[in-house]
């Protein structure tokens, strides 16, 4: 309770500050005088040296004075020169003083995306975002031209989600380009894209995508409610949103999905999920998120269903192995030695005979060492990679065993734990904590603690919710249709229904008769 009050206070301070900053702009209208407007803009963008002002006078009628304002580097200069400045200078269309803005917009400037604006705050935001704003002398309005043109990264295959088959496109940091990747694959007007702005200072564009007719409107309303509550000054990545809208804030498990692949987003949209795009990040959020999605990969749908069912089972097995192996090993080796077959027992006993540390401490150290190696692998500059693998493999593995610092079975346990954890990259965070918890419970209470820990984990998983949808349980009664895309991936001709949270459940014709 106290903590919550404290947080609210802090939030309030931030709000007030931003409020003060924006207040002078917020409800200010434009003046009729060009000079006055320019003066206001210049004052607003004081010390912003990339702001460019360009005064233009019409060749035929030198009473027509304009000024265009834009930020250098975020506009496409060719468009500004050819489609704005050139027509404005050369046009012989008479501009009456009655509604000069409309005439300029409709008859002179050759730009597809134009908009009128009279609020200073809107204009400031547009300029910052790459638009060009035209002020007309004598008009209390300005025209905003879409001249966004900045360099973006090329579309490439995402490194975090490699595939064997299927499309190789990946999202980039540009919101519009990302949306175009979706748009051109789904041609039905059912695909809705709603913009909104997040972050008081960054004013980042976000886009909510969903399939009207498939999505459950209540889930959508819930998402919007939660997004409305977000009150933060910056959103730089979708993870900001994830943490702000999630159901159980302290759970290490994911309650939102993320992907860098357009095909994955479309697949999820078509199952009734909602995608949240954010400008500036290639990662797209999808909600609601089911627990099985942790084990899914887009390859599952592009490869033969026998193969993908097997690899999905492997991933589930990998999850259980990676959290249980160290705890299980300690429970057996330190508490319940009679569980082992004699030969295994003897060889483990022999390799442990002259090792200085107790088995549980050894397990603890080895797992931390593996995590250090993994983290190093992510953070280090790529050109020293070889040094890491030599140190990691030879020194910590072989040499430690030969020097009798670590027992050989422990190395195998740590290696298996590490490798299996790489099978399920989406669960890195929970896996580390659960594994440690099971290890600690096992080292104090043997199998009893181990089983208790596993039970607690399962209860927690079953309790997880994503936007109010239970992540692990289904609609209450188990139906075969609902488990066809879980532990295995049933062939496409058997997956007749969508997941239960979608409004329109039938994916295929004939589905009504075939609910086996």
């Amino acid at each position: 309770m106290l903590r919550r009050l404290f947080l609210r206070d802090k939030q309030k301070i931030v709000n007030d500050k931003v409020e003060d900053l924006n207040e002078e702009l917020e409800n200010r209208d434009l003046f009729s005088s060009l000079d006055k407007n320019i003066e206001t803009i210049s004052k607003l963008f004081q010390d912003v040296d990339i702001l460019r002002l360009k005064y233009i006078t019409n060749n035929h009628d030198n009473r027509l004075n304009y000024c265009i304002v834009y930020c250098d580097g975020v506009v496409d200069n060719a468009i500004v020169n050819d489609s704005i400045i050139k027509p404005l200078m050369l046009s012989s269309v008479p501009v009456t003083s009655k509604n000069p803005v409309d005439i300029i917009m409709n008859q002179i400037v050759q730009i597809n995306d134009t908009e009128k604006a009279d609020k200073l705050s809107d204009i400031a935001e547009s300029i910052a975002y790459g638009d060009t704003v035209l002020f007309v002398d004598g008009a209390p309005e300005a025209i905003v031209f879409n001249t966004k043109g900045f360099k973006t990264r090329a579309i490439s295959e995402p490194d975090s989600e490699k595939n064997l088959n299927g499309p190789r496109e990946g999202f980039t940091e540009s919101l519009m380009m990302n949306l175009s990747l979706i748009r051109r694959k789904v041609l039905t007007p059912e695909l809705k894209m709603k913009f909104r702005t997040l972050g008081r200072r960054t004013m980042t564009r976000a886009c909510i995508c969903y399939m009207d007719g498939i999505v459950d409107k209540e889930v959508l309303a819930e998402l919007n409610r939660r997004l409305d509550k977000i009150d933060i000054d910056a959103v730089l990545d979708t993870n900001y949103i994830t943490e702000l809208i999630r159901d159980s804030r302290l759970s290490p498990f994911r309650t939102t999905g993320y992907t860098e692949r357009p095909d994955v987003v479309i697949g999820k949209l078509l199952e009734g999920r909602i995608a949240i795009f954010l400008d500036g990040t290639p990662f797209v959020l999808t909600v609601p998120y089911l627990f099985v999605e942790n084990f899914q990969s887009s390859d599952d749908y592009y490869l033969n269903f026998f193969y993908s069912s097997f690899s999905r089972l492997l991933r589930i097995l990998g999850f259980f192995l990676t959290i249980t192996i160290p705890g299980f090993y300690i429970a057996v080796v330190a508490f319940h030695q009679e569980m082992m077959p004699l030969q295994l027992f003897i060889s483990i006993a022999a390799s442990r005979s002259s090792v200085p540390l107790p088995a549980s401490l050894e397990a603890f150290i080895m797992i931390i060492v593996f995590d250090i190696l993994r983290e190093t692998g992510i953070r280090m500059p790529t050109n020293v990679g070889q040094a890491l693998s030599i140190v990691g493999a030879i020194v910590i593995g072989q040499a430690a065993v030969e020097a009798k610092l670590v027992a050989a079975p422990m190395i195998i346990v740590a290696a298996l734990t590490g490798i299996t954890s790489l099978l399920i990259p989406k669960m890195n965070a929970p896996v580390i904590y659960i594994r440690m918890m099971l290890l600690i419970l096992s080292s104090f209470f043997g199998f009893f603690g181990f089983v208790l820990g596993v039970a607690a984990t399962l209860i927690h998983i079953i309790n997880l919710r994503s936007l109010g949808i239970p992540q692990a349980a289904f609609s209450g009664k188990l139906q075969l249709q609902e488990i066809k895309d879980t532990a295995i991936r049933a062939p496409w001709w058997r997956m007749i229904l969508r997941p239960s949270f979608a409004k329109d459940k039938v994916r295929m014709n004939g589905g009504e008769n075939d609910h086996d």
Partner: protein, 380 residues
């Protein structure tokens, strides 16, 4: 919130209450006992125990795991177990013990159910440990001999005894809990595997050598390996082994039949205060060796062979029953137990005089042998 915290505390409390008496125990803090030999000191009457423990101090890479013997003496079995701690720094660990060898002297002279009490009562030992009797002077000689297939001889003995029924049928494996059950069962006597030392390739090794016969709580005698086979036929426990027959009807056996499947039916009837037991064996065999017929056998020869084998089997089983009746008077076949299970009222009448009844029992043995396969030699 309070409810949640309370629930969590309750769950955590469970750990302390329910985790029992087990304890963290490092593998390097224990001496792993694989086999135990129980002897009796001739002069003092103390129990002398020898433990075969794994020797994990020498690297196992080169020679595999070696074993060492620890000896100790005490007034009772457990006293002797604890006294071993005086000689070795680690406590003995019995969770992986595979074998207990009793000397025949102890089995002869003492109440066997008393000697095995600790093994069943102690929490660490398993109930499925293999029990054997040493035919040597002491039990220690058995576990201090050398294993051929494994360096830990106790484990090898256990595996020999356990797989014996399937391959050679020379003894009948009994686990500790079964010893306890049989000693308390109605109309049934205990048998245990019998081990002795032999010389093999200039080294002393062990060999299974038939079955030890108990009467009530004491050892009374032995069955040889061949007699054990007939004994296994009689109690329907045979699962493999070789049946040798003579083709000519003379003393020299020259045909080997591999036992593939056997079912033994036993029944009794009670007439004129006399019990008649009939045993019928129905055996399926493969012809695996025919020293005299180097060719494929025809139907007539096969039929003759089947008859000869059946006759030999009948004779063997009858002989072993008669020998046990006359020499040991111990119902190791469980005939009394059969009556107890089938006709409880009759058993109550016979119970008190069963020892005499058993000796006078009329046993009628009949056998059927079917040769289903004559091997890979075909008519040319």
């Amino acid at each position: 919130m309070i409810k949640k915290t309370a629930c969590l505390l309750l769950i955590i409390l469970q750990i302390f209450l329910l985790s029992g008496c087990w304890n963290y125990r490092g593998l390097n803090e224990m001496s792993v006992v694989i086999g135990i030999a129980v002897d009796k000191a001739p002069d003092s009457g103390n129990y002398q125990l020898s433990f075969e423990i794994t020797d994990i101090s020498t690297p196992i890479k080169d020679k595999g795991v070696q074993s060492k013997i620890v000896e100790s003496e005490g007034k009772t079995v457990f006293d002797a177990v604890r006294n071993a701690k005086k000689r070795i720094h680690n406590k003995l660990y019995f969770g992986q013990t595979q074998l207990v060898v009793f000397s025949n002297e102890i089995a002869h002279s003492e109440d066997f159910s008393g000697v095995i009490d600790w093994f069943l009562r102690d929490g660490e030992l398993r109930e499925t440990i293999c029990v054997v009797i040493s035919q040597e002077k002491t039990a220690r000689e058995i576990i201090s001999s050398k294993g051929i297939g494994q360096s830990i001889v106790s484990n090898e003995i256990r595996q020999i005894v356990e797989t014996d029924e399937d391959a050679t049928a020379s003894t009948s494996a009994v686990e500790f809990y079964q010893v306890f059950n049989i000693l308390r069962a109605e109309g049934k006597s205990l048998t245990l595997p019998e081990i002795h030392n032999v010389v093999n390739n200039d080294e002393t090794v062990i060999e299974v050598n038939g079955t030890a016969v108990f009467k009530e709580n004491k050892l009374v005698g032995y069955l040889t390996s061949d007699e054990s086979k007939s004994f296994l036929f009689a109690i329907d426990e045979i699962k493999g082994g070789v049946l040798t027959v003579s083709s000519e009807g003379d003393d020299r056996d020259d045909i080997s039949l591999e036992i593939s499947k056997n079912s033994t039916k036993r029944s009794f009837d009670f007439k004129d205060d006399k019990i008649n037991v009939s045993i019928h064996t129905d055996t399926t065999v493969f012809l695996d060796e025919a020293m005299v017929h180097n060719n494929a056998l025809d139907d007539k020869q096969t039929a003759a062979l089947e008859d000869a084998a059946a006759a030999k089997l009948e004779n063997d089983i009858t002989l072993v029953i008669q020998r046990v009746q006359s020499e040991y008077g111990s119902d190791i076949f469980g005939f009394g137990n059969m009556i107890y299970k089938k006709d409880f009222r009759l058993w109550n009448q016979l119970k008190d005089t069963w020892d005499e009844q058993f000796i006078a029992l009329e046993v009628d043995v009949s056998s059927d042998v079917h040769i289903v396969n004559t091997g890979e030699i075909e008519k040319s």
